[in-house]
């Protein structure tokens, strides 16, 4: 299992190579991976529906309790199946939609990486692993949304989605860590099995708020819903994938996964059901404002996400079953509808529904798929969406709290969704034929296979819901925490939920009939929409920019003297305070120095003073060099030859570098006033004093046992080396060294870039290209 997901990332990396080998068919070749995964997942169905939880152990960082263990229970299986099945269709579909696009290889890299991140997310059992995959989906979806990177709108939307979801990710990280510390387990299974401990802990509310912060931003709940419709700037297959089964459902998945651990409390039920209900109505309402087919579908996705959150908030067994049913139904019809929207866009050249009409003759298959999927969206019998909507309405009617309120909101959302469904299914295909930018004709087979199969599944599961009962029951059981029974059926008899469905059908069709009037009627409200939460987002971004500019001017104005003063003052302030508060100034020491030590130290001090008062740069450099050589001498007298050699060499090279730099500097000038010099003297003096005090304190009392004994004892037997310094550098503390050499390399590249770009600004003889520098 781990192999499949991690192998998928490798496959993503090789996508450009596959493009070279297979050309246009590379997408189909890559679709083999999710296809085989779907098959494998499909064969796990019997075991999982029987209530088994398949665990795939794999240690990753055992020392930190981080594992790559994957878990396959009902909920994971439902999600994983949706991700891989729809993934197959999206990959096939892309071949038609982005035919001949120059960046198709790049698209495949990111799409497959995204698919694997999503799979990892729904399968991960470890909190940290879950978070890693969570962030990977944020980053890869950023790249997918901004795929048309030359379009400023796409870049803006991509950045918006990244900032919102990654910001939420930070909040989630805090929540997950708190939860793991309280539950004393980094495994999701371990955490959800001890929900009472977490729920009764004093930190329960902060944890809940942090987790919701992550889940609500990812799943576009009100007031963060605005990023999702904006993300429609992505190519349509991406929208189909991100907004039907994957990205935006990640937050929902997380909430469902944590329901046994965090759910069931007053706060959970109130927050989730209210936010969910508000999101649901907002999405359904805003959908009808738009004539672009993609925006309309995006807002209806917001509606669905709100519904799912609300169902989790209600928390009854009925609601869990409704949750799983609605989730599956939504993925099927929304995937199909987005793919249809892509066909319409691709074949007619417009996304505006109002500009289409009478296309059913030109595109009969597309029209049929759109019709079936839209009927499922509207919740019309006998489609799977109907079962989803019925069970949702039942759960709302039987909710333990806010039932009347939630029912009213659900009904109005259902009415508006039905209207939206009718718009999508009927407007483009029926009525009078309108001229479109491109002469419409049926989409190519690779674009039709996805919608046909997804719409077909909606119909099949609607007519024979018992096929899905097992999976739905297993998924609902994992959300519930204990096994529960679910039997889906199309006909529940005449009951209140059916009545509500009928009401929504009639009223929804009415809205559809008068859709034009409806939009005209809403037009005066435009200024209100402009002041929605998105305006708050832009205000916030402006604020960040303003603060950044201000603090850059204050702290990072480019003068190294200011940086030094700031850094040293902070150091003296914080360390000095800690030293005085924690330790106090108690030390007694016996003066035991030799004459040669005094001589060396005296030389150093005079070197330092000379460097300060010299008015010639070269002389100052020489004086500082003297200090360096004296330090080397001290190292040698205290038998640390390695340090001594290093110091000597560093000093030599420093002098070489400084001499080179000195030629580039402007003439020596005194820029500081005498007041500033006094300030500098105070800063430098207090830093020196602090370091002296620190050393005296450390020498006086051993605060902790020295680690050098361990190093000395283990250097030869474990590290096979007599030179302890070197063994520490390359073996015992090799990870530190690795980090340091990376810093060194970065610093060198920084110097290189700075000098190259600087000189190329002034002199065209030295362009900053590598090729040039190699030959030159």
């Amino acid at each position: 299992m781990q192999l499949a997901v991690l192998g998928g990332f490798v496959l993503a990396a090789f996508a450009p190579l596959l493009h070279r080998w297979f050309g246009e068919r590379a997408g189909l070749v890559m679709a083999l991976l999710p296809a085989s995964l779907s098959l494998w997942l499909f064969f796990q169905l019997p075991a999982v529906t029987a209530g088994e939880v398949l665990v795939f152990e794999y240690p990753w960082v055992p020392g930190l309790d981080i594992s790559l263990t994957f878990l396959l229970d009902g909920l994971s299986l439902l999600f994983a199946l949706m991700i891989s099945v729809i993934g197959v269709f999206v990959l096939i579909y892309t071949r038609g939609y982005l035919k001949g696009h120059p960046d198709l290889a790049r698209f495949h890299v990111v799409l497959v990486a995204f698919m694997m991140s999503m799979l990892g997310l729904v399968l991960a059992d470890n909190v940290v692993t879950l978070f890693v995959f969570w962030e990977l989906t944020s980053i890869t979806s950023y790249l997918l949304i901004g795929f048309n990177h030359t379009d400023p709108e796409a870049r803006k939307s991509a950045l918006q989605s990244l900032l919102i979801t990654a910001g939420g990710g930070l909040s989630l990280l805090a929540g997950l860590i708190m939860m793991a510390l309280i539950g004393d387990s980094w495994s999701l299974q371990g955490l959800t099995s001890q929900g009472d401990v977490i729920r009764e802990h004093g930190f329960y509310l902060p944890i809940l708020l942090c987790v919701l912060g992550g889940a609500f931003t990812k799943s576009a709940q009100f007031p963060f819903h605005f990023w999702l419709p904006n993300a429609m700037a992505a190519p349509t297959p991406v929208s189909a994938y991100l907004h039907s089964a994957t990205m935006v459902k990640a937050g929902i998945y997380l909430l469902a996964r944590l329901q046994p651990g965090l759910g069931g409390t007053e706060a959970w039920m109130t927050l989730l059901s209210l936010f969910g209900a508000v999101t649901m109505v907002t999405g359904a309402f805003l959908a009808l404002r738009h004539t672009s087919i993609k925006s309309l579908l995006a807002y209806s996705t917001v509606m669905a996400l709100g519904t799912l959150t609300m169902l989790l908030g209600i928390g009854t067994k009925e609601a869990m079953v409704a949750f799983a049913t609605f989730l599956l139904a939504h993925s099927l019809y929304k995937g199909a509808l987005f793919l249809v929207a892509g066909i319409l866009d691709h074949e007619t050249g417009t996304k505006d529904i109002a500009a289409m009409g009478g296309l059913r003759r030109a595109m009969p298959v597309t029209a049929t798929c759109a019709g079936i999927a839209a009927l499922s969206l509207g919740g019309v019998i006998p489609l799977f969406g109907f079962i989803g909507k019925e069970s949702m309405l039942e759960a709302v009617l039987h909710a333990e709290r806010f039932s009347p309120f939630l029912s009213a909101l659900s009904l109005s959302a259902a009415i508006m969704t039905l209207a939206a469904a009718a718009i999508v299914a009927l407007r483009p295909f029926f009525g009078t034929r309108r001229e479109t930018p491109r002469a419409p004709h049926e989409g190519p087979p690779e674009m039709l296979v996805g919608p046909i199969l997804l719409a077909g599944l909606s119909l099949l599961l609607g007519v024979a819901p018992e096929l899905a009962s097992g999976l739905i029951a297993a998924a609902a059981s994992s959300v519930n925490g204990e096994p529960l029974h679910a039997s889906l059926s199309l006909w529940h008899g005449i009951n209140p939920a059916l009545m509500l469905s009928l009401v929504s059908l009639v009223l929804g069709l009415l809205i559809f009939r008068y859709w034009g009037h409806w939009r005209a009627w809403l037009r005066p409200l435009e200024p209100l929409f402009a002041r929605g939460p998105e305006a708050g987002y832009f205000k916030f971004m402006d604020l960040i920019v303003t603060v950044s500019i201000w603090q850059t001017r204050m702290l990072q104005n480019g003068y190294i003297r200011n940086y030094l003063v700031m850094t040293l003052l902070v150091l003296v302030g914080l360390t000095g305070y800690t030293l005085l508060a924690r330790q106090g100034l108690t030390f007694d020491f016996a003066l035991d120095v030799h004459i040669h030590e005094v001589l060396v130290v005296g030389l150093m001090v005079s070197g330092a003073i000379t460097a300060c008062i010299m008015r010639l740069r070269l002389a100052a450099v020489a004086a500082v060099g003297t200090m360096g050589f004296c330090i080397a001498l001290i190292f040698v007298t205290f038998s640390a030859p390695d340090l001594g050699i290093t110091q000597l060499l560093v000093e030599t090279l420093t002098v070489i570098l400084l001499v080179l730099v000195l030629f580039r500097l402007p003439r020596f000038a005194s820029l500081s006033t005498s007041l500033e010099r006094v300030r500098d003297l105070v800063v430098a003096g207090s830093t020196g004093l602090l370091v002296t005090l620190l050393i005296l304190t450390v020498l006086d009392g051993r605060l902790f046992p020295s680690i050098s004994d361990y190093m000395i004892a283990n250097s030869q037997p474990e590290g096979h080396g007599h030179n302890i310094v070197n063994v520490i550098l390359v073996d015992i503390r090799a990870l530190d060294t690795l980090g340091e050499v990376f810093v060194l390399a970065l610093a060198a590249i920084g110097v290189y870039a700075m000098l190259r770009f600087h000189s190329s600004e002034h002199d065209d003889r030295h362009p900053p290209s590598r090729k040039e520098s190699r030959n030159g």
Binding site: N726, A748, D763, S773
Partner: protein
Amino acid sequence: MVRSGTLILSVAARLLMPLQLLFSVFLLLRGHDEPGGGFIAGLVASGGFALYLFAYGIRATRTMLRVAPQDLIGMGLFLSVVSALPALWHGQPFLTAQWWTIPVLGFKFSTPLLFDIGVYLIVLGSVLTAVVALMEGDHDDD
């Protein structure tokens, strides 16, 4: 400005540089048991190249180096990271040292040595990158 080509410097550089490089390799290889190691050896080697650079200028030094100094950094990083991987093969934590004795020579090859060679190259590459970039800015390349 840095003038290249004075006779004493040129002769000295030509004689000293091979010695310095040899010495740096010596320091590198013996570093595990005696004073030395990748960092020090890298500094010695960059000192040698810097001397050559001052004596013969950038073009001659580049020709002798054959690779761009920045590429040395890349190679060094690559070697250090690669040296961390064999441990994973044995299921040990990242960077655990592995030792192999080469039978005939009795020479002990190890991942710490590989790592140290990486450090050597990075130090050499970093210093040379900075020095070369600074010298090139001086407009008297040859």
